[in-house]
């Protein structure tokens, strides 16, 4: 009876007014920072002219999109972007989760902290520097791999920067190297947030470590992992520009396996600096991501309502 009354009180408009008020600063920021500038999307469909302004410029339909589909590169960059992102999403599911669970198992606290600090290091290094470090490993004259490691194994040196076929592996490795640390910190925070009572109960039931991980940690981590994955799916047509431009050092010979939509657009518009065409690329990328997210969110909702994004 008391609960019912409380339930009614809980659903009173005043309560939700308080909650709504809490959202105001954040929503206001999104309005200014994101929604106001979205009028810029119409530039993608206009022949932008400085004198006429954004709204006064002439509509030109999809002309600004043409260069994205103009050559045989269109297929290539779409394929590369999707395959890389698919690989990244899969690996980001497995590696950081594993690392986070292991970090949580480390009993000596100072050691755990040291590991946490060290694995975050790659995330702090700018992509330009990462490019230098990779180059230090691979360069033809002075590379570490070519001068020290490969000869030790009795293998011939490879001229890495002119062999496109190795780069899917190199870039994937570099991506994981950079992102694993930061993602595992996020997952670790969620693992720490799990109520210890669950584990205590499991231990009383005689469950071993492995069982605890399988039956408690992973299921309770699932919502976070699902969200992170959905967020990545929404950005499947985007890619980390630095990774694909700086790390292969913009080597033309590698373009068949390193050119993605972002780098293509960058190279395409380097000389033109055209506002409309770059806006068109953004619209195209968001549109695909948008559709994919709607679909996957729908699937997730079917499986488990609570795990969905919206």
């Amino acid at each position: 009876m008391k609960l019912l009354a409380a339930g009614k009180r809980l659903r009173s408009p005043r309560r939700y007014a308080a909650l709504g008020l809490m959202m105001v600063p954040g929503l206001l920021y999104l309005l200014i920072n994101n929604y106001l500038p979205m009028f810029g999307v119409i530039i993608a469909f206009k022949d932008f002219n400085y004198t006429k302004g954004i709204f006064g410029s002439d509509w030109i339909g999809f002309k600004n999109f043409e260069y994205l589909f103009k050559t045989s590169d269109a297929l290539l960059i779409t394929r590369n972007t999707i395959l890389y992102n698919a690989a990244f999403i899969c690996l980001n599911l497995i590696v950081p989760t594993g690392v986070a669970i292991m970090l949580n198992e480390v009993r000596k606290r100072w050691l755990s902290r040291m590991y946490q600090t060290v694995i975050l290091l790659p995330y702090l290094i700018s992509m330009v520097i990462v490019g230098y470090l990779v180059y230090a490993m691979l360069s033809a004259d002075t590379g570490f791999l070519g001068r020290t490691i490969l000869p030790m194994l009795g293998l011939p040196d490879i001229s890495w920067y002119s062999e496109p076929r190795y780069w899917p592996y190199i870039l994937t490795a570099v991506h994981i190297w950079i992102s694993a640390g930061s993602l595992s910190v996020i997952y670790l925070a969620s693992i720490i947030g799990i109520d210890p009572e669950y584990y205590e109960a499991a231990m009383i039931d005689g469950a071993g470590k492995w069982q605890q991980i399988r039956r408690i940690t992973i299921p309770l981590l699932a919502p976070v992992i699902t969200i992170m994955t959905l967020l990545q799916i929404g950005r499947i047509f985007y890619s980390d520009f630095g990774l694909f431009y700086q790390v292969p050092l913009n080597a033309g010979a590698l373009q068949s396996t390193t050119n993605v939509i972002d780098t293509y657009v960058y190279r395409a518009l380097m000389t033109l600096g055209d506002v409309g065409m770059s806006s068109a690329a953004g619209v195209y990328q968001s549109l695909v991501g948008f559709v994919l997210v709607l679909v996957s969110n729908f699937v997730v909702r079917k499986l488990n309502k609570d795990h969905a994004l919206f």
């Binding site: 500038p37 109520d195 210890p196 009572e197």
Partner: protein, 295 residues
Amino acid sequence: MKTNNSIGQWFVHLVLLVISACCLLPFLLLFITSITDEQSIIRHGYSFFPETFSLAAYQYLWHDIGRILHAYGITIAITLIGTAAGLIITALLAYPLSRKDMPLGRFWSFVVFFTMLLNGGLVPQYLVYTQLFELKNTLLGLIVPGLLMNAFYVMMMRTFFATSIPFPVIESANIDGAGEFRTFVQIVLPLSMPILATVGLFQTIHYWNDWFNGMLYITDSKLFSLQNLLNRILLDFDFLTSSNFAGGNAAELTDVPRETVRMAMAVIGIVPILIAYPFFQRYFVKGLTIGAIKG
């Protein structure tokens, strides 16, 4: 059971050690390169055991110590203000979205999430911030655009609130007569230290490493943040070496250790973050347990 467990521990340590080495060694290479003699890099490439050591890169940066310290000051200020303000509005937005009983919750979640999908582009954003709000050449120009709050962290925090803080706890607090805001501050936040520390850490990193806002909104050298200053030193310097100076002393320019300076800049940019990291780690322990609150 005991042996089993310690084998597990050994395994965990082994794996983590290997991963740590993968992360640490390149950083070590970065550091060693910064104290290597430039000429030996040009001749032999990067090495863990360089022929000649040299502090020339740091000496070169020392010339600019006044400006660098000032820029550290700016960066520290925007990092502190930005992280604190960002964390507050992120949490305030994420919490109502995490409530399953929130009316229109799904709609608002979508409103937040949509900002990750569609981007108006740089020109409109620049227009909004310079024409509408006149943030050019102000400290706010470094803090507000793009960085203050990010839909990604809102969604992350929302998920944490939804999964780690059982609804009955909130409900019972409400029954006890606490208002929504009090429940949030006194119950939800203390239980959410790990996620607050995580988001705070990433916010700190983003503010610390940001050069983009500085590039767009700051032309006044008094407001340069660390990364902006370092970038300018480096880029301007790259230009000078590749151009031909009209004055006589251009030889001094090619004497400046360009590659090692680049690495030294990375080092002085990263080290403060590493020093700040333990502060966040303190909150990476289990906060108050729910049992404690119930009791």
